[in-house]
């Protein structure tokens, strides 16, 4: 099952289950989705529930928020999260904060989803990672699936959640196929928002990542295993609320921590993890400073050699792990 098909299946099941769920965004209907994630849905559900919008992010995000306030359960797709910047006021000020500002009177059960972060060769304006930006805001839930199982379980949980949820997908992962465990095939398969998953058990070092870099970490772990280094790889799955407990428990076991993300280093997801580890019980278990592996601190360049060196590669992760372990 590819990640694309997993998201498709998740949305299909939720559209079928609840009349109030609908999808809107650019090209989601008749084009089958800019990245074909919503393929077949318009044919099945029609104009009322799968809505093509004009290129008006701020407008249609606002419309989606209004629909959610009035009792529907919209899925608002941004063709990429880069374009969500046009609409970010609606996501933060109209969706995220409203339940709080109204002291519980007005809820906004909405999902904002789409590809996030670097793709391949799309250059600076189309490659930004928004995990840190959205993860910053109370009132929002932010999830970041890695594999097909994550994608299906998280989109379903996001749609059923009565709060605004941002789902940060990854375009390069859409076409990647994964084993799909039998429980994931159920129509009620949900992955809880706010819980990380230990993808690989290990004893020497904790490696935490979200989205595509989780795969790179597992690759690094395989290479290092041959050298006798056993990495515990944690797939964050949710950016906010972040499952710090799982990370802390792991660090208390392994005594070493490396975080990996695609986004820029300053004020990023890794920075938050390191700060929380410092402030919590796991600090005293660290045998070395925690270290972050991130995207390079540059706007994404176009030329392949430059782009390749602007994103964390397996070799960069291995290097950071070995440095932390003083090997």
């Amino acid at each position: 099952m590819t990640v694309r098909d997993a998201i498709n299946q998740g949305m299909d099941e939720e559209l079928e289950r609840d009349e109030k769920v609908f999808l809107l965004g650019e090209e989601v209907a008749q084009y089958d989705g800019a990245y074909k994630v919503s393929r077949g849905l318009w044919k099945k559900y029609g104009d009322k529930r799968i809505i093509d919008t004009p290129i008006s992010e701020m407008g249609f995000a606002g419309i989606a928020v209004g629909a959610a306030m009035a009792g529907l359960r919209p899925i608002c797709e941004f063709m990429t999260f880069n374009f969500s910047m046009q609409a970010i006021d609606q996501v933060i000020n109209s969706a995220a904060k409203t339940y709080y500002m109204s002291a519980g009177l007005q809820s906004v059960p909405i999902v904002f989803r789409g590809p996030n972060g670097a793709s391949a060769g799309v250059a600076a304006q189309h490659s930004q990672c928004f995990a840190a930006w959205y993860g910053h805001c109370p009132g929002l839930k932010v999830v970041s699936p890695w594999n097909a199982e994550d994608a299906k379980g998280l989109i379903k949980s996001a749609i059923r959640d009565n709060n605004p949820v941002v789902m940060l997908e990854n375009e390069l992962m859409y076409g990647v196929a994964f084993e799909f465990p039998p429980e994931a095939q159920s129509k009620d398969f949900l992955i809880p928002i706010g819980k990380a998953k230990i993808e690989r058990q290990g004893t020497h070092i904790t490696v935490v990542a979200h989205s595509r870099p989780v795969g790179h970490c597992l690759e690094a772990a395989t290479v290092l295993s041959k050298e006798g280094i056993e990495c515990e790889v944690i797939n964050l799955r949710t950016i906010r609320p972040m499952d710090v407990e799982t990370i802390e428990a792991s660090v208390m076991k392994t005594n070493h921590l490396v975080t990996v993300e695609g986004g820029w280093p300053q004020f990023g997801v890794g920075a938050e993890i390191c700060a929380r580890i410092m402030e919590g019980p796991a600090f005293n278990f660290l045998d070395a400073p925690a270290v972050r592996v991130t995207g390079a601190d540059v706007p994404m360049p176009y030329a392949k050699i430059l782009e390749d060196n602007s994103v964390p590669q397996v070799k960069d992760i291995i290097f950071a792990i070995k440095k932390t372990l003083n090997i």
Binding site: M58, G59, G62, I63, G66, A67, A70, L72
Partner: protein, 391 residues
């Protein structure tokens, strides 16, 4: 430019005499049951016909509109006072002068229709059914406020009332989305989406117009044109100040926003238009605010006191209604004075409550982050301060 503005202001001043076109004496012979009044015809855009040029006002309606407008007026003036006494903090945008808008709109729709507006929301919040007490108590930031003190002036909500929105223009696509929900559910409910003359220049308004029109959403877009966007007169901000035409492909109405009957009839017309599936419509309410943009704006650096006084003396919406009711023998001056006294008393009591009610408990600071969530911990100003968050 001054001339254009003077022309705009003079349009706010009435040309219609308060005398009724006809009236019917009630059985008791003291007051009429109802009276018919001429109202200013609306200017039309892309419409073959518009709202009627006369309106029937029953005695009961008249008394209700009068009392409601006085409640809004006094509530806003009380808010002014409380702000100056430092019981209210931050932003406070008052709508005194614009009472005919919120009262007229409410009279033209059903309680189950939906309304959303900007931050100048106290009046609409009241007409939509939130009590004065809970509005004033929200302004003073106490636990008895309609948002338990957590929202403040710009973030008040009620059933079928979606605020109170702080970001200029953001409510416009939201209102279109509410209309989408009405259409989606197959109900005959509509969405009234208000925005100001300043907000009319926001890009997202044009985006909302486009989608509402494309998808024939039952949305009445209402531009409350009070002639100034903060300190900027309309002709300094808009290449076209004909806000009722700014929907371009959407039909529009220009309405005398100082006349509650005009607003009511236009609203009924617009609501009908939407309910019959014709798609959105734009209504421009020509109105005026006595206060500055907010309590931090004296409101006289960009307009003259003479102008404000002229509007007050010639087109005050409450005065206009009162004159009509007296001319139409729908009520006596004493009766209206009694209502004034009742209103004053009610506002005073509400204000007393608003300044004596305690502030929200600190333990509640982190509540309502998420809905339907199990309780979780929220960080305070340092890692040792932890709050509990409950839905």
């Amino acid at each position: 430019m001054r001339k254009m503005l003077a022309a705009a202001v003079s349009r706010v001043l009435p040309r219609v005499a308060p005398k009724p076109a006809s009236r019917m004496l009630g059985a008791a012979g003291t007051f009429a049951d109802k009276a018919t009044f001429d109202i200013k015809p609306c200017e039309l855009y892309r419409l073959e016909e518009g709202p009627p040029a006369t309106a029937v006002l029953t005695r009961e309606e008249g008394l209700k509109y009068y009392k409601t407008m006085q409640m809004v007026r006094r509530m806003e003036l009380k808010a002014d006072q409380l702000y100056k006494q430092k019981f209210i903090r931050g932003f406070c945008h008052l709508c005194d002068g614009q009472e005919a808008c919120c009262v007229g709109l409410e009279a033209g729709i059903n309680p189950t229709d939906h309304v959303i507006t900007s931050y100048r929301a106290h009046g609409l919040c009241y007409t939509r059914g939130v009590s004065v007490r809970s509005i004033l108590t929200e302004l003073t930031g106490r636990r008895g406020g309609c948002a338990k003190g957590k929202g403040g002036s710009m973030h008040m909500y009620g059933k079928y009332f979606y605020g109170g929105n702080g970001i200029v223009g953001s409510q416009t696509p939201i209102g279109a989305g509410i209309a989408l929900a009405c259409k989606y559910k197959g109900s005959s409910e509509i969405s009234l989406t208000l925005y100001g003359d300043g907000a009319a220049n926001q890009g997202q308004v044009a985006e909302a117009f486009n989608m509402a029109s494309l998808w024939k959403l039952p949305c009445v877009f209402i531009c409350e044109n009070n002639l100034y966007g903060m300190g900027t007169a309309t002709d300094r901000a808009a290449a076209s100040t004909e806000y009722y035409k700014r929907g371009h492909f959407i039909p529009g109405l220009k309405v005398d926003g100082m006349d509650v009957l005009c607003v009511r009839e236009a609203t009924k017309f617009a609501a009908d238009h939407c309910r019959s599936g014709k798609g959105p419509i734009v209504m421009e309410l020509h109105t005026y605010r006595y206060h500055g943009h907010s309590m931090s704006d004296p409101g006289v650096s960009y307009r003259t006191r003479e102008e404000i006084q002229a509007v007050r003396s010639k087109s005050d919406p409450i005065m206009l209604l009162k004159d009509r009711m007296l001319a139409g023998k729908l009520a006596s001056a004493d009766e209206l004075k009694d209502i004034d006294a009742d209103v004053k008393k009610e506002i005073e009591e509400a204000a007393q409550f608003a300044i004596t009610d305690p502030e929200p408990a600190l333990e509640e600071i982190a509540h309502h982050i998420y809905k339907d969530n199990p309780p979780f911990e929220v960080r305070g100003a340092n890692p040792w301060i932890k709050f509990k968050s409950v839905s």
